[in-house]
Amino acid sequence: MPDIPENGLTRLVHQVTEVATGPDTTFADGRLTVSAKAARECLADPALAHVEVTWASPGQSVRIVKVLDAVEPRTKGAGGGGIFAGFVGPDRVQGRGSTHVLRGAAVVVAGFLPRAQEAVVEMSGPAAALSPLGATHNLVVEFTPAEDAPWEDVDRALRGGALRLAVHLADAALDTPPDAEEWLPAPTPPTGGGGRYRVGAITNLQTQGTFKDVFVYGRSFSGGLPTLIDPGDLDDGAVVSGQFGHPSLKNPTFMHQNHPVVAALRARHGVDVDFAGVVISPEPVVASQKELVSAHAARLCAAAGWDAAIVTKEGGGNADGDVALKMDALEDAGVMAVGLFAEMAGPDGTGPPIVVPPERATAMVSTGNYDERLVLPAVERALGGDAVALVDRPATDELQLPIAVVYCALSPLGWGHLTCAPEVGTEVLSA
């Protein structure tokens, strides 16, 4: 048996502790300075008439509304070095060598796009902790579309521009010694394990067309079949989000780069599990396709020697169906399945928690109740828009909103600490 080389990726982590704007984009001693002119150049495109960048930092009395995508600044070398394959880099596999990460910062695009659902990020107050962006220094990109520019072109321009801006910021740290180095080994092949359970992640990606699509190596994943993908490629931005629905249930590019289930499995790798890898799958809209994709994914995981799979989704009740089908197909194929679900139990918590639950698989993690109401205090400043259309109020007002509106609050990839529990401790009596 040939020696299997140690495959993996090294993250060179630079911690961002303060931010500023200035004549040049620089990074030193934790301070990230951006040149607004250079930032706008990253987003130069005929479809965008005007672009503005503004920092929003944790603790400030700032609310970001109409949040679209968020990207963590990363680079593998000047100009990107191959990162964000198919967009900034050429469409080739990555996930090896080293990648610089500006941790504690994010590029956040905010503004109106059709079919985007109103999303909110609080930089202070009780709801700040409900979103990962409440704890990052966010470079908020606001935009005005060019007159007569088709919205699809605006969307494309923003996506490419945000990724280029993320690279531009990270490039500033290339010559700085990292604060930490994180070694991310590639998953062990089936013969190389240590007798521990092999557990992998199945990540469902929304694939419903324009404004509701996710890209892999620069291409829409719609119509694809489930596939294994090296988790290092996730770190290096092979999966880019182009969907803007269900804000609390959104998996922005930032979240794929920092995949929580992969992180949780890596944390236990070699201890009580072996991290077996990642399968990505589309979420078809047609029932027969959903069934095909689910059965195919189950066989793939079984063939890859997985003992268990953690299944995540993207979207609302329709996406629950995809998780449920996969969980049942996995159990049928002898692979134990756990699914992550947000509950839609209604404002008083008594509705049926899950729209489409699995029939045979029964192990479910809750990421919180979609319908619970929040009161967000008034703020001094808002970015991304002047009003929150959902409640028809100025964006800086005190707002009463369901948690469904807070960006990533019920993170289907498992980022959040929310869960649900019965109000009364014991199981209820039934006939």
């Binding site: 289930v261 009580d272 134990m336 992550l340 498992g414 929310l418 009364v424």
Partner: protein, 342 residues
């Protein structure tokens, strides 16, 4: 000493049976009917200061009824409202559940009592409901349990399964100590380690329906045909909706041995009605039912059919239609029904 207001229906208030099911909301300044035994069980610490009662048809059918009942309840200044026991009585259970939900919304503590299979149970929202027996003969033990739960509630305790609590218990968001992804790994290991029931989200509760006793002698029984296929006279004279139906209808079948194509159609929006309109017996088997009636296999066919559209029907409405159909058919001494479902 706490003030308890008791909600019951017209039958338990001693006003009358089915004939009095339209009784409007009424109040008496004392315990009435089973409330008297309840008062004994919770006294002397607590007192039943008033009884509000209402006819089951009025309470479950009139949109303003619940609000009127709550007004009467509020006027008696209760510390706690007690509704039922409703046993398996559908309309009474529905009324008790709605009173419980409305009282909770109005900030008045409330507890209801009914059998776990009562179809009204799920309308109580998050209000506490404790299990009663199946039939009125079990009033004694049902009141014992209810009284014990009343005492605990008035002492400020939260009711649990040990008190006989049934129905939906609200699920609330909580902040866990670890993120969902880590909890997912924990759950994988728990399951692989042999804990076959570990989960954060329980499976949805399957509804349980107490099966009716079998028909002893079909040859003497009246059978009804009912359907949710939205089969109506061709001009849909009563405007049955194609989806999210808010009503059900009754159409006569007497004198008919069959349904003539063209005189009937389905207005159901959930499937292609082409085949059904070609031959309405594909939705309502009148031809066969008449033949079996003629041959003596059934005593008689009920001379009408009940219909609604089962397309996107709200759970609440569907449950209400079922409760009303049962009451309606029982009133006409129908013994059994065949429901054709699409």
């Amino acid at each position: 000493m706490s003030r308890v207001v008791h909600y019951i229906n017209q039958f338990f208030a001693g006003v009358g049976g089915e004939d009095s099911a339209g009784t409007p909301p009424t109040t008496r300044p004392e315990a009435v009917g089973p409330g008297r035994r309840l008062a004994q069980l919770i006294g002397p610490d607590h007192e039943v200061v008033a009884t509000v009662f209402c006819g089951d048809d009025h309470a479950s059918g009139d949109p303003a009824a619940i609000a009127e009942i709550i007004d009467l309840v509020r006027a008696a200044e209760p510390d706690l409202v007690v509704a039922g026991p409703a046993f398996t009585s559908g309309r009474y259970g529905l009324a008790c559940a709605r009173v419980a939900a409305a009282a909770t919304a109005a900030g008045i503590p409330v507890i209801a009592s009914m059998h776990p299979d009562n179809p009204g149970l799920d309308e109580a929202g998050g209000a506490p409901v404790v299990a009663s027996g199946e039939v009125a003969r079990q009033m004694g033990p049902s009141l014992d349990r209810l009284a014990a739960a009343v005492r605990r509630m008035l002492a400020g305790e939260t009711l649990t399964a040990d008190d006989g609590r049934i129905g939906a218990v609200p699920r609330r968001s909580r902040v866990a100590t670890s993120d969902a992804a880590s909890r997912a790994v924990d759950l994988v290991l728990a399951r692989l380690g042999g804990d076959a029931a570990a989960t954060e989200v329980p499976l949805p509760r399957f509804d349980h329906v107490t099966p009716a006793a079998p028909v002893a002698d079909l040859a003497t029984a009246t059978l009804a045909l009912v359907t949710e296929s939205a089969l109506v006279p061709d001009d849909n004279p009563d405007h049955l909706e194609s989806a999210r139906a808010t009503k059900w209808l009754r159409y006569p079948l007497d004198g008919r041995d069959s349904l003539t194509p063209g005189e009937w159609r389905s207005v159901h929006g959930g499937f292609s009605t082409v085949w059904a309109n070609e031959d309405p017996h594909r939705l309502l088997p009148l031809d066969v039912a008449r033949r079996l009636e003629g041959e003596g296999l059934i005593g008689s066919l009920y001379p009408a059919y009940l219909v609604t559209a089962g397309n996107g029907t709200s759970v609440g409405n569907a449950r209400r239609f079922g409760i009303e159909w049962a009451a309606d058919l029982r009133h006409s001494e129908v013994r059994a029904a065949i429901l054709t479902a699409t």
